[in-house]
Amino acid sequence: MADFVYAETDPAELAEYREQVETWMNENMPRRDPVNPWHPTQDDDERSTRNRELQRRLSDGGYAAVCYPKEYGGQSLTIAHQRIIDDVSMDFDMPILFSVPTLSICGPTILECGTEEQKQRYIPAWIRGDELWVQFMSEPSGGSDMAGALTRADRDGDEFIINGSKIWSTFAQRSDYALMLARTNWEVPKHRGLTMFIVPIHHPGIEIHPIQMVDGTEEFCQEYFNDVIIPAENVVGEVDDGWTVASRLLFHERASVGNASPYTQGRHRSRSADGLNDLAAFARNYGGNVGRQRQRLGETETLSRVEVLLSDRVVKGIESGYFPAPAGSLVRLFHGLSRADRTTVAMELHGDRALVWNQGEDTGSYGVEYVQRQQTCIGGGTTEMARNIISERILGMPREPAADRDLPFNQVPRSG
């Protein structure tokens, strides 16, 4: 299947577009409060309602997910237009919740692999902010080996009956639909017995349990399926050919994490990444080893800047054919490593204040972020998987041997 097509864009037209976007944002979107920004860990209900409302506003203005085709409610514009919206939107509250995975991962997967009815039915609903989607991909038995899914979907006439469990879905409890990979054939090797389904989340037989993370948030969920009945029209692609669909989904996930997707929408500054001036001011005033603090700040500034430049290089390089599409994994790997490093630096620059703090102070959150820092190297495909992809699909090195490759799935050894 084709990778993204990046159309040529006219600089003068883009400059005009930027002006339009700026004017519209100023008049229609709430400006982000830099001192007390609306924080995504706030109350779930408020977060969901607020995101839907913001997405609706964007959509009414014609600035929502502009790279989607007009026939499905988009604007048929280019990634350059979307990036302009992203740049301008840094100073505004944006419906970030819709960006990943709904619009940038589930969306293009349906756009490429869905039926015409599915596209008509679902795409306009995301763009308008009516329906939020999640991914039911990872399972408790393993995250990286997605094709080893154990959740089963047994056919019964025009329906499938689902049993099993999925995990690490983001914000499932407030979402509407999920893309789910389940096993429909156990007699064939693992990649050939999977099917992709569209699953309504608030549906008989589905139980959702939030997972409390190190920082106390409950953004991720685990779901349990107990004889959940799904109509056959909810199959995406062909029955038993779900891996083809999943491969596209993974491609879009990498593009999304690597900031190379035309379908991501809006961007918020992250505190440890962009608050370098604040960090510098804190460190200077609070004290500590000056030479070391300077080095750490300089290193952080280096990584932040190079990450943007690398992302730009990879996007342009995929566009010009210099890089193969899996090059998005370069950005994914850089992002994971540099973000982890920046989180460490943010803690270090807060000295003992990130470890022991007075009641009412916020400095402890840097310590908590540090404890949770590997999250950016795990979620969205681990950095180890990114390294596999870079070495195998960019450098062309031999693939890892897989003991389960040609074995019928019901004969594959599995843990416990």
């Binding site: 190079v306 390089g317 070495s391």
Partner: protein
């Protein structure tokens, strides 16, 4: 053919391909090794051939007979530096271009008249800046230019002056009562001693330059002492660091390429090195460093071309590329095993050059210090 930047125009691509082909045919590594024995590092006839390709005219203004490929000279110049790094090619490329850039901008008409010879590859220029124990910042410059009889008398010692012994003219940075000043001197002037130095880099040539009361007229000044000269010095440092980084990004990419090939060809325990995940993951990291290094170089070149945020982006490039390029090469030595630490293997030629680039004009740590100030420390 592999481009260095991913956004080259058709003309730039032709320019880059020509440079690469010229280096591959005229100066393959076997020739580079032969040139190590030449006192001047490369034959003058070759330098003239390189000049014919435009390698010394890019930074010279069109009004003085120069001109770039893309209208962004610094970007075109970085393309050549990338290619020279790939080929570990010697030659007074960096200092000649850095000084030519300043003469084109701030030189008087006599000084600018030298540029014709520079563009023909007949005149070599060098920049005498760093002093023993100095930190490559303008504040370390202790050499003095004392006003005397309407001119100046220069006293001091400069070290690691690239192409110092090959240059026909030296740009000297020294301190006057009015602040920093720069002078352009012929290298045969009385009181000036140029002594060739040894270098870790076997290809390029460096020298110590001593001024024992060198008397010069005020017509030797390049631009005005004080703020104008300081701005020129800053620009020279930035262009030099960009070229070093481009050189290292080019050589790191080349080293990675032949080490990847080696990993496919070399078998142990019955399978190629390239099939071991422990090594594949290291290669993935190295590929990341290599591509990110090129991105950092391009970012710095773009910033210099636009005259926007260039101090920051140049320091970002040195901070990143300076370290990652040599880390990458050391890892490639490790993957080669014993052969990687022999004189016979080419790896050390690249590592030597990259290590010199890493250290001169500020280490990565120096540039991180500079960045910390830019983020408000």
């Amino acid at each position: 053919m592999v481009p260095v930047r991913v956004d080259l125009s058709g003309d730039q691509e032709f320019f880059q391909e020509t440079a690469r082909r010229f280096i591959e045919t005229e100066v393959p590594v076997s020739v580079v090794r032969e040139w190590h024995d030449l006192p001047d590092g490369c034959p003058q006839s070759w330098w003239q051939a390189a000049a014919e390709l435009g390698w010394t005219s890019l930074m010279v203004p069109e009004s003085l007979g120069g001109g770039s490929i893309s209208g962004r000279p610094i970007v075109d110049l970085a393309i050549v530096a990338d290619e020279m790094g790939r080929g570990v090619v010697p030659g007074p490329f960096m200092p000649t271009n850095v000084v030519a850039d300043t003469l084109g901008r701030s030189g008087n008409s006599d000084q600018q008249s030298l540029l014709e010879g520079v563009m023909a590859g007949e005149v070599i220029l060098a920049w005498a800046f760093c002093e023993p124990g100095g930190d490559w910042t303008p504040s370390h410059v202790a050499a003095t230019a004392a006003p005397s009889n309407g001119g100046y008398v220069l006293t001091g010692t400069k070290t690691a002056v690239e192409a110092g012994a090959q240059a026909h003219h030296l740009l000297v940075t020294a301190r006057t009562p009015d602040g920093l000043a720069q002078f352009l001197l012929p290298t045969d002037i009385a009181g000036l001693t140029v002594t060739p130095q040894e270098s870790l880099d076997l290809g390029r040539r460096f020298a110590e330059v001593r001024f024992d009361g060198v008397a010069v007229g005020s017509e030797s000044l390049v631009g005005a002492p004080g703020a104008a000269a300081e701005a020129d010095v800053e620009r020279q440092r930035q262009v030099m660091v960009l070229l070093q980084c481009a050189d290292n990004a080019g050589s790191a990419a080349k080293v990675l390429e032949f080490t990847v090939e080696y990993a496919f060809d070399r078998y142990s325990f019955g399978r190629p090195l390239a099939s071991y995940q422990a090594l594949k993951h290291r290669f993935a990291d190295m590929k990341l460093w290599s591509e990110a290094s090129q991105a950092a170089v391009d970012g710095a070149a773009d910033a210099l071309a636009a005259g926007q945020d260039e101090a920051r982006m140049v320091s970002v490039a040195k901070s990143y590329v300076g370290d990652r390029s040599v880390d990458l090469m050391q890892d490639c030595v490790q993957i080669h095993g014993g052969i990687g630490v022999t004189y016979e293997h080419d790896l050390h030629l690249y590592l030597r050059r990259a290590t010199v680039n890493r250290g001169l004009f500020g280490t990565p740590a120096d540039h991180r210090d500079a960045l910390s100030e830019l983020v408000g420390y």
